[in-house]
Structures are given as C-alpha cells and as structure tokens.
C-alpha cells in the first residue's frame, strides 16, 4: 500500500505539471499558432533556477556541483523565480523566434534553439553543473510540516492541483477575452487580422512570454518534487509528449487538455510500467514512444481537432441591439435550433436562439 500510495501521489504531481504544460502549449499553439518545439527548454529553465534558488550559493572548487544563481530563498520565492526565468527566456527567444515567419520555419527555429541550449548547458559545467545537473534540491517546507514522506507527497500533490485550479481560471479568462479572440484571429489569418488593426508579432510575443512563465512555474514545481534536474530530463522529445497530449485532447480547448494529459503522459507513458516485463529490457519504453508517435500521426490525419475540439462561441442575444435593427422577430426560443444549413447570403432561413451567449456546452 505504501508503494502504491507513493506511486499514485507521484502520478498526480506529474499529471498536474503536464497539465500546466499542456495549457501553456495550448495558449501558444492552440490559440495562437506558435509551434513551440522548444517548450521543454522553458520548463528546464524553471527547474534549474528554482533548484539553484534553494540549494544556496555555489561553495566553490570543493563543491561536487557548480551552478550560477545560487541562493537560499524561502518558499515560494523559488517558484516565482522559476516563472520569471521562463518568462525572461521566452522574451529573449521570442524576440527573434516569433517574428512574422512561416510556421514551418518557426518550428525549425524552435527545435534548433532547443538543441543549442541543451548542448550549451550539457557541456558548460559552470552554468548548471553540466551533464550531472543539480541534485540534493530539498522539498519545500518539508521539515516545517513535520509529515511522513508519504503524507508530504500527498500534500505536495494537492498543492500542485491547487495551482492547476488557479491557473485554469486565469487561462480560461484570458482565452475568452477579446485578447484571446485576437490570438485566434492571427492564428487563422494574420494578413487579415493585421489589416484590421491587430499587431500579430506583439500578440505572439505576449503569449509566448505567458507560456514561458507557466512552463517555468511547472519546472519549479517539478524540481522541488523530484529533487534533481539534469540535461537527460529535457531532451526535445519531451516536448513532443506534451504536443501529442494537445493534439489528442483538442487544440484550442483547455478542458481537452485534461483529457489529453490523462491519456498521453499518464496512461500511455505510465500504465505500461504496471505490465509484466516482456522481451528485452527497454522494449516497453520503446513501444511507449511508438504509441506516442502513432497517436500524433493518427490524430493529425483522422481527427485533427482532437477529442474535445475548440468550442463554438454563441453570440449573446442583446435585446436592445436586436430591437434597433428589427431582428427581434428572428429570435426563437427553440432550444434545439442549430446553426443553420448554409446556403447563399440571400436565403436567410434558420432561427436565432434567444439567450445570453457564450461557449456551447
């Protein structure tokens, strides 16, 4: 039971962190069309900065690990520092990567950025201890709470879920605002959006920085839970897991991210660890990655909008405006009325439902 409890609480933490990642990528790709194949870099930045922020200053040549930005900051400042690190890195990379370029070029730029930064951190041991990475990162408030490890892990899982709940409210509010609508407009037709007054580069940079901050925060939460971080944990393939969750769950639907995160990083990548070992060591791991890749392709080909597609916005029926233009007669309370069968513009036929508007349930 002890092992099982530990396993489940770990899964909950991973689920929460992957969910935050999926929301971040959904903002960037689902709403704005930015193909951020460097996503994991921003999470890694959060991991390193949060880790260094609690490890204390680097003690010099005799220390077994060397890093920059060492400090001993109280909880939750390291998490805020992690979010800030993700945002700052996104601002720097975004200045050249989210300019108006073709999306396939943008994806290539992101992938290259990811590889360069990985090589840099891996080979320069003075930044974040090179290949060995940072270890011994303490759990926040562990001694102050005075709980057993199993109890502490459940408290931590709840902490992560609480942050997810707050983040969901914030992300939904942003996505449903006029700002969120502008993101979708530049995603669909940037020339037209620009000709209507929207500054696509500025909007992309804003969303890229917000996504970077969320990624950094998720990294901070992750490293404070697992206690270590090294280049082996942030290969570019990790980004593809989150992208697959996004495609499976439903591009542009934040609730779909719940489903996609549950299916891809949790069920596909974690459940097989319950299966009896078959074949040679590593075979199950290899099969997991094949399933991730096949899921990506299958959803792109057969269900590109994912399991829970972006939701249709229903226009609010404003009685005053409708009355002014003589549209009150076309308001029908019929709840079953659907979007009309579409023909020519001179053939208005269907009804407009009365109501307050909003997204379709």
């Amino acid at each position: 039971m002890g092992h099982f409890s530990f396993y489940i609480s770990t899964l909950v933490v991973y689920f929460g962190i992957d969910l935050m990642s999926a929301w971040s990528l959904n903002l960037q790709y689902g709403y704005t069309g930015v193909i951020n194949f460097a996503y994991i870099v921003f999470q890694a930045a959060g991991c390193y900065v949060a880790g260094a922020a609690v490890l204390g200053p680097d003690t010099g040549p005799n220390s077994f690990q060397h890093y920059i930005l060492g400090a001993r900051l109280p909880f939750p400042v390291p998490l805020l520092a992690a979010a800030l690190a993700g945002a700052v890195l996104a601002a720097v990379i975004g200045l050249f990567a989210v300019r108006r370029i073709r999306r396939d070029y943008q994806a290539a730029v992101m992938l290259i950025v990811s590889l360069i930064l990985l090589q840099l951190v891996e080979n320069d041991t003075s930044i974040f201890n090179g290949q060995n990475g940072l270890t011994g990162i303490p759990h926040p408030l562990e001694s102050a709470l005075g709980l057993s490890l199993a109890e502490y892990e459940w408290v931590y899982a709840l902490w992560v879920l609480a942050i997810c709940a707050v983040l969901y409210v914030v992300v939904q509010k942003l996505c449903r605002s006029a700002w969120g609508r502008s993101l979708r407009a530049i995603r669909d037709q940037e020339d037209a959006a620009s000709a209507l007054g929207l500054n696509g580069t500025k909007l992309r940079l804003e969303v890229f920085i917000i996504g970077g901050a969320i990624a950094g925060l998720s990294g901070g939460l992750l490293v404070e839970f697992i206690g270590a971080w090294s280049p082996g944990a942030w290969g570019y393939a990790e980004t593809f897991v989150i992208f697959t969750a996004l495609l499976v769950g439903g591009v542009g639907n934040n609730r779909g991210m719940l489903l996609g995160t549950l299916i891809v990083p949790i069920i596909v990548l974690e459940v097989p660890s319950f299966l009896p070992t078959v074949g040679y060591p590593g075979l199950i791991d290899a099969i997991e990655w094949i399933i991730v890749g096949l899921s990506w392709m299958a959803f792109l080909l057969f269900r590109p909008r994912g399991l829970l597609p972006e939701r249709r916005f229903r226009a609010p029926r404003l009685a005053a405006a409708l009355g002014r233009v003589g549209l009150t007669d076309v308001i029908s309370p019929a709840p079953a009325a659907e979007v009309p069968v579409l023909a020519d513009a001179d053939a208005p036929s269907a009804t407009v439902r009365a109501g307050s508007g909003g997204e379709e349930e």
Binding site: K173, L174, E310, A315, A320, A321, V339, L342, D344
Partner: protein
Amino acid sequence: MSSVGEGTAAVMSSRARARERPQSPAVLEVRDVVVRYGGVVAVNGVSLDVHRGEILGLIGPNGAGKSSLLAAVGGQQRVQSGTILLQGRDVTRTAPYTRARHGLVRTFQTTSEFENMTVFENLLVAGRGASGASLWRATFGWRRYRAEERRVEEKAWEILGRFEMADLVDAYGRELSGGQRRLVEIMRCLMRDPAVLLLDEPMVGIAPHLVAKFVRDLRAVAAEGIGLVIVEHALEVIEQLCDVVVVMALGEIIAEGTYQQVVADEEVRRAYLA
C-alpha cells in the same frame, strides 16, 4: 490605333474631367508611389486621390499593378518611393495594423475570413474600442472591458442586421459560402468605422444573382462617408458602382474619369478592353 501623342492627350483630358470630383479634402492621397519586385517595376509613380463617400474603381489588365498598388496603400507591400497620406497623416512607412487603427482597412483577393471563428467573432475581432484586446486590460480592466465589449457586440448585431446575415451569426467562417465570406469581410471592416476601405476583387465567388445586392450594399457603405477603392475585373460592376475609374497598365495610370469616359479612351481600349 492612336499615336502616343493622341493617347497622352486622351489621358490628360480624362484627368481634367476627373478634377470635377468633390472639392472636400481627399481622405486618401497617393503621391508618386513606386513599387518594385527586384528589377521589376510593378507600380511606377502612381498618384490618385480618394474622397469621402467616393467609390474609386481600379481596373486594368493582369499585371497592370492594381493589386500591388492596393498592397502598397494597405501596407502589405513596401514602397520604394512616394507618399501615402491618410486623412492628412503620412502612413507611408507604417505597418498595416497602424494604418487600420488610423482608418484604412482592406479585404483580400482570396477570402480571408477567420475560418475557425464564428461570424459574430469575426466581427468582434475588428471592433474598434474593444480595449480588452490589450492583454493588460483583458487581465485587469474587467469592468471597463465588459462595458466596451457590450458596445462592440451591439454594433456587430446592427451590422449583421443591415447585411441580413443575422441568421448566420453562430456559423463558423469555414461553413459559409463564397458570397457570405465576402460579406463577412466587408462587415468586419465596417466594425472599425473606417475612413477608407480597399476591396480587392470583391465579386470573385459571388453568385451572379447576388451581385446587384452586393452593389447596393457597397453603395450604402459609401453613403456613410467612407471612401472605397475597388480592384475589379467585372466591368459591369465597375460601371454600376464607381464614381471614378482609374485604368492602369504596366504599372502606370493610363486614364482616369467616369466609366463612360475611360472606356471611350483609345489607349484604354488598346491596352485593356481589346
């Protein structure tokens, strides 16, 4: 066949006639604009004026430089030299979104509706004064944002009613017919309360029986005091719609006047109508 001298005389006379246009200050002034693609000169020193409430038709053979000129005015194409004044303000070097904020909006040759957004959302995106489009206000200015959003929504309903598109309010852009998409583009432009509206081949994809309605709609738009510039190959539409017609060939204006005047012009007949 007329000589070069005769052609020039025809141009001069048609331009002279064109000076009978409104005496109010031009809302859009294009002065000696040059657009080059590498070594190819697409627009060569073109000048024209558009007044409030006026519909200016831009016609000419393929490759004449009409769409390049429209792109230069809209800001999608950089100009090598020349000046573009919008309501007296020099916008020659500004981005398209800045020009839109100053009152110049446009549609494109291929329909450009936001296909994964509903008709209503297509209109809201362009809603002038929707301060929620700013990240800061969407996040922290909730009360003011709601009030402005409501005003934009009311305006969208009014425009939908005017164009008889209210029944399609919740349809996605991708679910519309070609003609409906064109109407959405124009309605979207009107949401910004423009001073100048540029339309690039607006009749492409419009069913023949809808053309008359479309012409009426555009006339109503101009009657609001908006200056319209239309690039169009359907000459019957130009004839019905335009107050003044400018004919381009090989990057230059070869005639300017009313429709009847320019189609009677010998050089226009030779370069375009023949």
